[in-house]
């Protein structure tokens, strides 16, 4: 689903440039539940931006769903984002003057789906995250956990190939963190590829594979306890 080869990325800072990603190789298959761990400055957000087509890379290859991503203009990137990717952000990023339902329906608007239909689909997804009764509430009437569930519904509504979550629990307390992670796991169990960026060990442990980044290189890439029984089961078969 996501294949990255020898990826480099630098940011210019004045006359110098800051080499953030120094040759990343990563392969994420369809249906995986991966977390990228790293302290701040490790390059994990940069990696997410590149994977999420929000930013370009300097060197190396990036294949999304088998398609080589190269020299994308904004329009093409927007179409690909809309088609393949769903985003969940730390600060939820809901549009404040739109109701939960309208927020969830927004990606469908950019997909060109008619209003009636997109509101219907959006309502289905709100139901899925357990917020059907909150459909007509504005974001500031929702709790943090509820907002993040709306954001997850919004990420899922276009049936993307990959859900990219950037510190999805960063602004939540531990109970709601667990709820959100449970929700992401459920989504993954339905076959969705989920890609989480976090610096919290407890969050990473709930995913099936942890990739650790440090100073722009991958220092470890291993399956977690959650997925081991599954793997052994497969081996046994």
């Amino acid at each position: 689903m996501i294949k990255i080869e020898k990826l480099h990325k630098s940011y210019p800072i004045g006359k110098d440039s800051l080499h953030v990603l120094k040759g990343i190789d990563l392969h994420i298959k369809e249906g995986e539940f991966v977390s990228i761990m790293g302290s701040s400055g490790s390059g994990k957000s940069t990696l997410l931006n590149i994977v999420g087509l929000l930013d370009g890379h300097d060197e190396g290859n990036y294949f999304l769903n088998g398609q080589l991503i190269k020299n994308l203009n904004e329009k093409k990137a927007a179409i690909l984002r809309n088609k393949f990717l769903g985003f969940v952000f730390q600060s939820f990023n809901l549009i404040s003057y739109k109701t939960a339902l309208e927020n969830v329906a927004l990606p469908l608007y950019y997909k060109g789906i008619k209003r009636k239909e997109r509101l219907k689909i959006a309502l289905d997804y709100l139901e899925k995250v357990g917020l059907k009764n909150w459909a007509n509430h504005l974001p500031n009437e929702l709790s943090g956990g509820q907002k993040q569930r709306v954001a997850i519904a919004r990420a899922l509504v276009t049936k993307p190939k990959v859900v990219l979550a950037d510190e999805p629990t960063g602004a939540l307390d531990s109970t709601t963190t667990d709820n959100v992670m449970d929700l992401l796991r459920d989504i993954n169990n339905e076959g969705m590829t989920v890609f989480v960026i976090t610096h919290e060990e407890e969050v990473a442990e709930q995913t099936k594979r942890i990739v650790r980044l440090k100073d722009g290189v991958i220092i470890s890439d291993e399956l977690t306890a959650v997925s081991k029984p599954l793997k052994e089961a497969i081996k046994a078969v």
Binding site: E74, A78, I79, R81, N82, F89, S91, N93, L94, Y97
Partner: protein
């Protein structure tokens, strides 16, 4: 082009952010209000000028003669110049394509008697075209026609006040009155915007007057209406040529101002036209200056609004909004605000003009108002203004990078 969903997005964005929408619209409203008021006042001024000549047709030319003041070709000064039918016919033939209306005038003071009532009035003996040159409005009956001319009919068209004097409220049409001892039939009653004096006149066919009062072919003066398809300059040139031509035929010195005069409305119109042209130019200059200030104002506020909405645009882009969709949204919103605000200003301006319009007449401002063309013109201007005001901010919005906009804060 019409995209209901897009409009819904825009209406939502405007209605959920009332304050900033009102703020950005305010400058435009104010600009258009100012422009409307200025334009209306200048229109009122123009109406006053036009009203000063409302009595006669705009394309009138008067040929008047008097005594010569300079000797010429062996002829002494002090000679009385008399226009005759042959001069009239000469002008008809020579300048046929340049003339719309033509009439002679013979003045006469007459005594009109009906039963026991009698009074003195000014009589004008004229051709049928006189009606159009003088802008005579027929209230009852008809004006003098060519058949009256041919038959030298003893018919009379009397002014509204003449009728009132002699007949009071009783019908006058078809009645016979005595004019200096000769019986005439009243065939029409008229009114005139030129004032009471104009409505105390009576008209009869020029041929009748020539036969009955002197039995000659003299005419007192000649009035023309130049062909309206002539430009003002052409009309002025025509007047000058006509004057030169008549001087030659009547043996008048080229510089003798007393003997013949051609008063040409085209010259007056040209003067007024130039004066009003300068005024309109000033108004448009001030108006467009104000409008440009308004556009810059709305553009500034839009830029501020874009900054405020950076996150929203970032979210939209992350969710798949293409740059063109962002540009379209901002520009359309700007156009909508500009147009609505502009119309508010326009309506308010028109309302103020109509409310205070009458009180301004003392300042030579009559019926100040803006015309439909201005409204239509303003619509296009506003849409273009909105486009200009929205475009730069929209480009800025489209350049927003989602990663920058969405950075956790």
């Amino acid at each position: 082009m019409f995209d209901l969903d897009r409009w819904r997005e825009i209406f939502q964005s405007i209605s959920k952010n009332k304050l900033r929408s009102v703020m950005s619209g305010f400058t435009i409203s104010f600009a258009i209000l100012l422009f409307t008021l200025l334009f209306g006042v200048v229109n009122g001024l123009s109406n006053t000028f036009k009203g000063a000549f409302v009595d006669d047709a705009q394309n009138s030319m008067f040929v008047r003669v008097g005594r010569t003041t300079k000797p010429y070709k062996g002829l002494q000064s002090g000679r009385i110049i008399q226009l005759k039918n042959e001069n009239y016919d000469y002008v008809t033939k020579t300048y046929e394509d340049k003339i719309q209306y033509q009439t002679a005038r013979i003045y006469k003071n007459v005594n009109i008697t009906y039963k026991t009532k009698q009074d003195n009035y000014t009589l004008r003996a004229v051709h049928p075209d006189h009606q159009f040159l003088e802008k005579t409005i027929m209230d009852e009956g008809r004006y003098i026609n060519t058949r009256d001319l041919k038959e030298k009919a003893k018919v009379l068209v009397i002014g509204r006040l003449v009728k009132k004097d002699i007949f009071g409220e009783k019908p006058a049409l078809g009645k016979r009155v005595n004019v200096n001892g000769i019986s005439y039939k009243i065939i029409g009653i008229f009114s005139d915007d030129g004032g009471d004096n104009e409505e105390r006149l009576t008209y009869m066919p020029v041929t009748t007057a020539q036969m009955l009062y002197g039995n000659n072919d003299y005419i007192s003066e000649m009035n023309l209406g130049y062909n309206p398809s002539l430009s003002l300059d052409e009309a002025v040139a025509f007047g000058n040529r006509l004057e030169r031509d008549l001087r030659k035929r009547l043996n008048i010195h080229p510089d003798d101002q007393g003997a013949i005069r051609v008063r040409n409305m085209a010259e007056a119109n040209k003067g007024i036209g130039q004066f009003m042209g300068v005024l309109y130019f000033l108004v448009i200059l001030i108006g467009s200056g104000t409008l440009i200030a308004g556009i810059i104002g709305i553009s500034n506020i839009m830029i501020f609004v874009i900054k405020e909405r950076t996150k929203e645009f970032g979210i939209r882009k992350a969710l798949g909004a293409q740059p063109s969709s962002i540009i379209g949204m901002v520009v359309q919103e700007s156009i909508l605000i500009t147009t609505i605000a502009g119309y508010l200003g326009l309506s308010l301006g028109s309302y103020i003009l109509s409310a205070i319009g009458d009180t301004l007449e003392a300042y030579f401002i009559k019926d100040p108002s803006v015309s439909l063309e201005i409204v239509i013109g303003a619509t296009f201007t506003l849409i273009i203004a909105g486009l200009i005001a929205g475009f730069l901010p929209a480009k800025k919005a489209a350049r927003i990078k989602p990663i920058v906009a969405l950075r956790a804060d």
